[in-house]
């Protein structure tokens, strides 16, 4: 991904050092970063032990984009992401224990066991779209949500995240084009990790950056360092404010490597060892931010350790909750297809035992 990375500085902080975030919020950002990282690592090891049904899609290394972008949203703003971006949904507010129940196909998962892993969402609670695999199908949906905000004169905005791979797909073009025509309140975030699954940027598009493609839609495009959570946050916050005040859409390209393969089975041999090491050693969004807060005395080591302890406790609680959560009632498999059968507005059946 030489082209894609070449223009990266990796500089810290950026204008207004902490991007205007209070110490409390900075600590919250650190908490989210560490939580997402820990969750990602632990779930992968459970998967490797064969203790998870189905698949996992690690977003490790991209937490700077996920947390930075989602942190710029208000509660009533909506978030549309892919299977890669669970960390963004966790940042928006999804409960760890219900997320884990989903991974094990339990009734307390956000989809009541109808979908698994990061094919998740919580529209009713946190205004996040339930992930659809087809890429980038959530982009056109985000246009519709943004259209509704404009029509209803609501101050909300929609933010959608996809990967570089999605930018070669027709829906990406259509959605951004329509959002520009009507100057809709939406922010388009593309996580450029240099590869679509195994396919490098050079085989995805002929331009050096994704940000420059914004010009073809008559909207601004910016490129940020995905390893720098504050840079992502600041660019997103700006775009969000612009969209909220009628300024129309912005395209944000955030560059950071995905440390793991596309899914649990993918060893990502297509990523040069040096690139991976460089990212892990010098562009770890979690480490870099923790370092920054420590260096600038925003937090001390004790606080960091407490955060880590809290996260591990929450993970264990979530794990226990998920294991204790019953499986869905087999007979309910035919319910909830249409709105009128009331399945989703009533307490679901719970199969005895924990499967």
């Amino acid at each position: 991904m030489t082209t894609a990375m070449s223009s990266q500085t990796g500089a810290q902080g950026g204008p207004g050092e902490f991007a205007g975030l209070t110490p409390e919020l900075l600590v919250d950002v650190l908490y989210k970063l560490k939580l997402c990282r820990y969750f990602d690592e632990r779930m992968e090891s459970l998967y490797r032990q064969g203790r998870l049904p189905g698949a996992i899609y690690s977003g490790r290394g991209q937490e700077g984009t996920h947390v930075g972008a989602a942190f710029a949203l208000q509660h009533d703003d909506s978030l549309f992401v892919t299977h890669r971006d669970l960390s963004a949904q966790l940042t928006k507010g999804l409960e760890l224990k219900r997320v884990m129940a989903q991974f094990w196909g339990r009734i307390d998962g956000y989809t009541r066991g109808r979908d698994g892993n990061s094919h998740i969402g919580d529209w009713q609670g946190n205004k996040t779209f339930t992930v659809v695999s087809m890429l980038p199908d959530s982009y056109p949906v985000a246009v519709g949500a943004a259209l509704a905000y404009k029509r209803k004169r609501e101050p909300n905005i929609a933010l959608a995240i996809c990967g570089d791979g999605s930018t070669s797909n027709g829906r990406w073009h259509e959605a951004i084009n329509v959002s520009a025509i009507h100057q809709l309140p939406v922010v388009w975030v593309v996580n450029n990790n240099g590869y679509a699954y195994s396919t490098p940027n050079e085989l995805e598009f002929k331009v050096a950056t994704i940000a420059e493609r914004a010009a073809a839609y008559g909207i601004p495009g910016v490129r940020v360092d995905g390893a720098n959570v504050l840079e992502v946050y600041e660019a997103t916050a700006k775009a969000v404010a612009k969209a909220r005040t009628g300024g129309g859409p912005t395209l944000i390209e955030s560059v950071a490597l995905r440390w793991r393969g596309h899914a649990g089975h993918d060893a990502a041999k297509y990523v040069p060892k040096e690139t991976l090491e460089d990212y892990q050693q010098n562009k770890d969004p979690v480490q870099r931010f923790e370092r920054l807060l420590l260096d600038k005395n925003v937090v001390d080591q004790q606080q960091v350790d407490d955060l880590q302890a809290r996260i591990e406790r929450e993970f264990t609680e979530g794990y226990d909750f998920a294991q204790a959560s019953p499986l869905p009632e087999a007979g309910d498999v035919v319910r909830g297809l249409y709105a009128e059968d009331g399945y989703w507005s009533s307490e679901p059946g719970r199969a005895g035992g924990t499967g």
Binding site: R114, Q124, D137, V141, V143, R151, E174, V178, L337
Partner: protein, 350 residues
């Protein structure tokens, strides 16, 4: 072929050959006018209802169904989109998630294939996976018989009837079109409303004017009572079936005509009741024979009404080839009254 016949042929494929006009003095409405009334009334009634699609605003739609709407409801509620069906469907989903009630027009039902993925993978599955209702309607002109060849004559309903989570409606009469469309607009699920362009200006009737007149989704209608044979059909074929039934009556064959109206959820009860009565079934449909709607109807009869059958469940439908343009070929492609009479004769003789 007569000059007027030729005029019709030209006009027919000529999309909105003339503006749709209004009801006749006798108060009759064409199928097209009935559809326009349904949309208009629901937009008056519910502020959340809005339209999006290609050329539906200033132009009033390729068939002029929404002519005059933009003047009344403005550009915010009558949205002319670019040519991007996938995104039109996605926008309908996203705005429905936010409580709006979109009605998306596909300029021809054929172009629903260009928005296929967002419909089947996003809209169809969404409520089952999330519990979020999607009150949205996708509507467009389907069907052949107007010399519009294979990209402007298709019957896409089988694709969507097979797909979980979508309701599929195919009315044959102005009143059913109006009543079913109103039901669809008030329904909280993604609903696909296939209009039949051959019917648009050809079929007129007195259509109820009460604002709350609706026809329930999921109920078939026995259009004509009969005792010897049941023709189970829908859409434009209903009219051919009724013509054939009238002919056959002179031959002393009493034909019952069941108009499905809704494809999914299918009203199997009404179908089975009719077969119980007649013991003979001809399943007539315009979607290609192989895995067309009639395949499901025939399979249902064969499974649940077997003990009542005195003859094979017969199917009559176009072959699985693209809808051809040449009048000589399209006439051979589509079942006509003579084909229906022959099929009924064979069935009766069984």
């Amino acid at each position: 072929m007569s000059q007027t016949a030729k005029q019709v042929e030209a006009g027919a494929a000529g999309h909105g050959a003339e503006p749709r006009g209004k009801r006749t003095d006798a108060g009759e409405a064409t199928y097209l006018v009935a559809i326009a009334e349904a949309i208009w009334e629901e937009m008056e009634r519910d502020e959340r209802v809005y339209l999006l699609g290609e050329d539906i605003g200033v132009y009033g739609g390729a068939f002029k169904v929404t002519e005059g709407f933009i003047e009344r409801f403005g550009t915010e509620r009558v949205m002319d989109t670019p040519i991007c069906e996938e995104t039109i469907m996605g926008m309908a989903v996203g705005s429905a998630m936010e409580g709006m009630r979109p009605i998306a027009e596909v300029q021809y039902a054929d172009f629903i294939a260009n928005g296929f993925d967002e419909l089947v993978n996003v809209a169809g599955k969404y409520h089952y996976r999330s519990g979020v209702p999607l009150p949205m309607v996708v509507r467009g002109p389907s069907g052949g018989g107007v010399r519009a060849s294979s990209f402007h004559s298709q019957n896409p309903e089988p694709w969507f009837a097979h797909t979980p989570g979508l309701k599929v409606l195919c009315p044959a009469f102005p009143s059913d079109a109006k009543g079913l469309l109103k039901s669809a607009i008030r329904d909280d699920n993604p609903t696909i409303f296939f209009e039949h362009k051959w019917i648009y200006r050809r079929i007129k009737e007195i259509v109820p004017e009460e604002l709350d007149f609706t026809v329930p989704i999921g109920s078939a209608n026995v259009r004509r009572e009969g005792s010897d044979i049941s023709i189970v059909t829908y859409g434009a074929m209903v009219h051919k079936a009724l013509d054939a039934a009238a002919e056959l009556e002179h031959k002393g064959v009493s034909v019952e005509v069941v108009d499905l109206r809704t494809i999914t959820p299918l009203d199997t009860e009404t179908i089975l009741r009719s077969i119980e009565k007649t013991s003979r079934a001809l399943v007539l449909y315009e979607s290609h024979r192989f895995l067309g709607v009639g395949a499901e109807v025939a399979a249902t009869i064969a499974e649940d009404a077997f003990q009542h059958l005195d003859a094979p469940v017969m199917r009559l439908a176009p072959p699985n080839v693209p809808v051809p343009f040449s009048p000589a070929l399209e006439d051979a492609f589509l079942p006509d009254v003579a084909d229906i009479e022959q099929a009924v004769d064979r069935l009766a003789a069984w």
